[in-house]
């Protein structure tokens, strides 16, 4: 019995080995390497020297990194409605009116997701040009503007968020659509028998069943909004004006691949990992405690 268990265990380990090797080489290895680099002073060539916590101290002594962290939070807050409320509303509307028109709208909403990010960003550059761009020319006909959407520190970050949201909406409408297809039809029929109006059914029966997917999309938005905005920032503003569109991912890239200040870039990455990992760790801890209390 023991021999068979040991054999099965070694067999499972054998099957897992390729995946473990890949994970070690491409995920956990770089993670450990990043932590090591964060305490070194190294530009990628020459001999690295031990820097202790200097990189972390420099990171917070320079104004641009804390500012980039703050801008990332603002960006997430701006994108969040477009990752949840807007696609949820659109998906429910399309779900309630099934048919060819619904499929066409769904395809049109998804189209920006498959377009090349750089090409999309360049198209926005022409649209938003304050000297004759389509948007300002149109606003001009209404007697408004012109507004330098990407050049004015007050409007630049919200504009980047809206441009980024264009792709997020299409993808999330699709995900909400999949979740809506899995809704319990009996609960809808029961609500109808109870005399619930369409709005009441949506509000009290449909939406609550979308909370799990909404939670997932909120989590993805918090973790990935900065990365989603990366191409738009790189092509349209490079962090300008006055660093207002700079976010923590673009800053990390700038430190690492523009300045080759690998220690500083790695320190920024470690801070980011900790900031993103902390809420997850707290959540896991709370769930474990809750589980202990219940048992």
């Amino acid at each position: 019995m023991t021999n068979r268990f040991a054999r099965r265990r070694s067999g499972a380990l054998g099957y897992l080995t390729p995946l473990l090797v890949v994970l070690a080489v491409w995920v956990y290895g770089p993670l450990v390497f990043t932590v090591v680099l964060s305490v070194l002073d190294w530009d990628g060539s020459g001999t690295p020297t031990f820097a202790g916590m200097d990189n972390f101290a420099e990171l917070f002594a320079r104004p641009e990194f804390p500012a980039a962290l703050l801008h990332t939070v603002v960006l997430v807050a701006c994108v969040l409605p477009f990752a949840t409320v807007v696609p949820m509303s659109l998906a429910i509307m399309l779900w309630k009116q099934p048919g060819r028109a619904s499929s066409v709208y769904r395809a049109l909403l998804f189209l920006p997701v498959v377009l090349a990010p750089v090409a999309t960003a360049l198209a926005w550059q022409f649209v938003l040009n304050p000297l004759g761009g389509v948007l300002d020319e149109t606003l001009g006909l209404l007697g408004l503007g012109p507004v330098d959407w990407l050049g004015d520190p007050a409007t630049a970050l919200p504009t980047i968020a809206v441009i980024t949201a264009e792709k997020v909406i299409g993808l999330n409408v699709l995900l909400y659509g999949a979740a809506l297809d899995g809704i319990d039809r009996q609960s809808l029929a029961a609500a109808s028998l109870d005399g619930a109006t369409e709005w009441q059914t949506t509000r009290h029966v449909v939406v609550p069943q979308l909370w799990p997917i909404t939670g997932l999309l909120v989590g993805l938005c918090v973790v990935l909004a900065g990365q989603w905005a990366f191409t738009n920032v790189a092509v349209l503003t490079q962090g300008a004006p006055n660093g207002t569109t700079d976010n923590v991912y673009y800053r990390l890239y700038t430190y690492g691949f523009t300045f080759f200040d690998n220690g500083l870039a790695s320190a920024a990455a470690v801070v980011l990992i900790v900031l993103l990992g902390l809420p997850l760790a707290i959540r896991a801890l709370l769930r474990r405690r809750a589980g202990t209390v219940v048992s």
């Binding site: 054999r7 067999g11 054998g14 099957y15 080995t17 390729p18 090797v21 890949v22 080489v25 530009d43 990628g44 060539s45 550059q125 022409f126 040009n129 304050p130 000297l131 004759g132 761009g133 330098d148 990407l150 050049g151 520190p153 503003t237 490079q238 962090g239 300008a240 004006p241 006055n242 660093g243 691949f257 523009t258 300045f259 080759f260 200040d261």
Partner: protein, 442 residues
Amino acid sequence: MTSIAKKRTRIRRLSLLAALVAVVTLTAAGCGTSGTDAASSGTITLSFLSYNYGTADLGGQGTQQLIDEFEAANPAIKIEPQGVAVADVLTKLRSSALGGNGFDVAQVGWSKMAVAYQSLPITPVQKIAPAQDWQDTAAGFNQAVLKATQHDGMTVAMPYTMSIPTLFYNANLFRAAGLDPADPPATMDQVRADALAIVQHGAQGVYFDVANASKSDFLTQSLVDSNGGSVVDADGKVTLDQPPAVQALQTMADLTRSAAQPGVKEADALAAFKAGKLGMLVTSTAVLTGLDSAAAGKFPVLATGFPSFGDKAPRPTYSGAGLVVLSKDTAKQQAAWKFIQFLTSAQAFTTITTKIGYLPLRPSVVTDPRYLKTYFDSDKRLLPALHQLDTLTPYTFFSGPKADQAVQALQDQAVAPIALQGADAQQTLHAVAGTIRGLLGQ
């Protein structure tokens, strides 16, 4: 255990081993180098990184033409070109060098050259070239350019695609504003007055491309130098918060505050000039071919020299790029020298000027009927810039390993807010000079 069970176990272990070997082999292959062979059947292949190569505009076509002509004349040398965005040249060069598949020859912008000297395995061009060959090549070159671009007393990067800032203007908008296109502005005060006149007639006035997307400070330096100041002094000390520098950049802020200059990004201003909505554009001569093709049939694009501050002589510095050799292989270095010799020959500068838009660095080609005489006889717009090339002010570098961070801090934190938003030059430059001194350890 039965013999069938033993056989199954052996087969399973072998399969696992094979899978493991496949993973390790693929991983190792991914980490391996893929550099170009030095020589294959007598042909030397040179990898060449160029930010002009592969672009859809005339610059891309001109670079391809130069490569084709070189390969036709040198069948034993094959060029393997690769394009890159101008802002990413150093990133590409450093990451490929770290990955073990570095380039043999590269076109590096002058604003990035200080960092390139420090961080890339560059062999000075002058050291690679045979002595007599070097003398012959240097003899016909613009001596002011050769001198201005030297590093540690020798030519490390060969001047290749060079330009200086110049003032382009839309002749139709000049006429519409009651200005004479034959009498373009020569001083900053005249630029401002003409710009305001153009603005009064419904167009945008002037745009100094000082806060450009490639984060080069060549126009910043041209302005500051022309007002008698400097960004750094001869000892490498930061001087960008001294009165001449402050006054020069305050001029930019005043233009924006008075609405003579739109406070927009470079790309927006370029698009506006091409659409005939901007009267004057002060930028690199390299954009001329692009402006011409956009303006064809709509309005004449004219050009004049970089404007002066009052009666002080204008002292523009240069932008563009030099060619560096990164290969350590002797045979490749000699092939690279032949390639560089060709790219800086009279024949090549004819293509570079007419197709790519940079200035010819061999003075004789301007008057030689075999090369550019016909071109300059019919189109004199680059002549003022060409004359200013003879009194070129060297481009100055910040020193130290964080020099590129210092340039970016200058451009992003000082020049852009001052020039595009009209921020106070004194206050902004004082703060940013402190940041830069911190970065440079001064």
